[in-house]
């Protein structure tokens, strides 16, 4: 696989195949860590056309290892956009009708400022010198992008998993700028179990000697083994026991019998190894540390005096939450807690739990009932917002 990586940089991190919005030293991003990040940049993609009323903008927030390439061929992997099941011409989020924006989050590695970006004060990659980034920081950067695009009020903010956290943060901190919100397979805080899995992943990265205390880019090395193990462990949490059994069972990989060794005898082992190996080609290890930390730190209720309902008090935003029965990373109860808080706040909220065995990743897949709910919600909301077909 062709990867644009030179020893000092991580491919797309510095020279993205995207639109790039640059902010100079006079326009810092005030981080929750209490530090101004400047200069910084946001890499983003847009699809469709902003209408004259500027009322048809849909902001898509990506998940942990996602990026801005939501509906186009990925510049590194060559694969289709990660949410093409949902977004594109004539699709549910119809780019003939909506102006779709997706930005790489701050702390990411596909062109927005992150740990692989150059630290202006040293001329070297930030590494761990980048302050810890939070979900709120990611959203603040998106607000600056949306301001730049001249959009006062987004028609919709949509995202799954970590993207869903950003949707909730948007709705809580900028309610007047969000007409409708679609947080999918997410929660208002990261659970202890989820923090635990993330810690396993981070420790795997840090245990790799090629991580070099985070300065691997300068050393011309990359902690591929550690990052691959992190991805393998995390990938299990995106699936479900039933889906794994249906897909792989105890089937053997290219062999008739057990080898009595530690090669990948089972298909599931081979599958996970493949997932780990391909992931390191498109993702920066330090960025993985920052992304997982951002999710761990997210606790929307804590940001509002411990009462989640207070995060949404007086909101006019319409919400539609969706969860999946077999998702054990963000189980339905997490979505339900948000729904109950929205009810307590008197918000307009819809919620549906979709029956599926595909686990957390169901939000990325072709799930007709899920897509039906999104289509119905968006269609009704677009009608009320006065967004017509062009």
């Amino acid at each position: 696989m062709a990867v644009k990586t030179t020893p000092q940089t991580f491919g797309e991190a510095t020279d993205p195949s995207s639109l790039v919005l640059r902010f100079g030293p006079d326009e810092p991003l005030r981080l929750e860590a209490g530090i101004d990040l400047a200069p910084f940049q946001i890499a983003y993609q847009t699809y469709g056309t902003l209408n004259d009323a500027r009322s048809n903008a849909v902001l898509v927030c990506h998940a942990l290892t996602g990026d801005q390439h939501v509906a186009n061929k990925h510049p590194v992997t060559g694969k289709p956009g990660w949410w093409e099941a949902l977004i594109g011409p004539g699709k549910i989020v119809d780019t003939d009708r909506f102006f779709v924006i997706c930005a790489n989050v701050i702390g990411g590695c596909l062109g927005s400022t992150g740990p692989a970006s150059t630290n202006p004060s040293s001329g070297k990659p930030y590494g761990l010198d980048l302050p810890v980034i939070t979900i709120r920081d990611m959203v603040r950067a998106q607000v600056m992008l949306v301001d730049h695009l001249g959009i006062d009020r987004l028609f919709c903010v949509i995202g799954g998993s970590m993207g869903g956290m950003q949707v909730l943060e948007w709705a809580a901190s900028h309610p007047e700028r969000v007409f409708c919100a679609l947080p999918i397979a997410t929660g208002a805080r990261h659970s202890s179990q989820n923090i635990a899995f993330h810690e396993v992943g981070r420790q795997a990265v840090m245990a790799d000697p090629d991580w070099c205390g985070g300065r691997y880019l300068e050393e011309g090395r990359r902690p591929e083994k550690g990052l691959a193990v992190a991805r393998m462990a995390a990938h299990i949490t995106y699936l479900s026991e039933a889906a794994l059994h249906r897909k792989f069972g105890r089937n053997l990989q290219d062999r008739d019998r057990l080898t009595f060794g530690f090669d990948a005898d089972f298909q599931i082992e081979s599958y996970l190894r493949h997932q780990g190996m391909t992931f390191v080609d498109r993702f920066d290890a330090n960025s993985y540390l920052y992304m997982t930390r951002a999710m761990d730190y997210f606790d929307l209720a804590a940001d509002h005096g411990g009462r989640l309902a207070d995060a949404f008090r007086g909101t006019k935003t319409r919400f539609c939450l969706i969860s999946f029965t077999s998702d054990w990373l963000f189980p339905t109860e997490e979505s339900r807690a948000v729904v109950h808080a929205l009810n307590a706040a008197g918000a307009s909220v819809s919620f549906v739990e979709i029956e599926t065995d595909k686990g957390h990743d169901a939000f990325l897949l072709d799930e007709p009932e899920f897509h039906g709910a999104v289509r119905g919600f968006l269609t009704a909301a677009a009608r009320d917002r006065g967004i017509d077909l062009p």
Partner: protein, 203 residues
């Protein structure tokens, strides 16, 4: 169901609701009542519905409906958050009708409850002469697969209202043809000839 597809109690309920009120419909089904209320009464409506298909149909109609049920989800709504809370043809399917009714009275300024009257004469006859649990066009389930686990008569419901301190503002009974029974009739008459009842309560 009436020939036009709208349940007979829906129009009755709609007539009780002031325009532009805040309404919570518990047991929204596919959203027929909420849609009627939105279009005819311009209400700010919310719903709770048990089934995924039902919620999806509601959401597609542009209604704000969450998947949940009366027994578990009402507790999360604030006191007097709605002008009206509606429980249509659902109380008999709840696990704790008394608790549910108390929650409804807490959440809503006014509460509208409609339910099938198990004291209806045809049902009494079924039990009296056939010695079998009644199965009718409106209550089509056999005893072993019915979702209706807490049937009551109009008289029973009135007594429950007294017990939880609810005031019956208006009550209407419908006969087997969906016609209102005379308002001046005594309770026993309603309890015998009413196939359905619609109550407007407050506390």
């Amino acid at each position: 169901m009436t020939p036009n597809g709208s349940r007979v109690d829906f129009q009755l309920i709609a007539d009780m609701i002031a325009p532009r009120a805040r309404v919570l419909d518990v047991g929204s089904g596919e959203g027929e009542l909420l849609e009627l209320l939105r279009d005819d009464r311009q209400v700010d409506g919310r719903g709770v519905e048990l089934s995924q298909e039902g919620v999806n149909r509601c959401v597609a109609r542009g209604l704000s409906v969450i998947q949940g049920d009366a027994d578990h989800d009402l507790v999360y709504y604030p006191d007097k958050g709605f002008d009206y809370v509606i429980l249509s043809q659902t109380i008999q399917a709840t696990r704790n009708p008394k608790t549910v009714l108390e929650e409804l009275l807490r959440i809503g300024d006014k509460v509208i409850v409609s339910f099938p009257n198990f004291g209806y004469w045809r049902l009494r006859l079924d039990l009296f002469f056939r010695g079998r649990m009644p199965v009718t066009r409106d209550l089509p389930h056999s005893w072993y697969d019915t979702p209706n686990i807490h049937f009551c008569t109009i008289r029973d419901f009135v007594m429950l209202c007294e017990e939880v301190g609810a005031t019956v503002e208006t009550a209407t009974a419908l006969d087997g043809n969906g016609q209102k029974l005379g308002f001046s009739m005594p309770w026993w008459f309603w309890n015998f000839f009413g196939q359905q009842a619609v109550f407007l309560l407050s506390r």
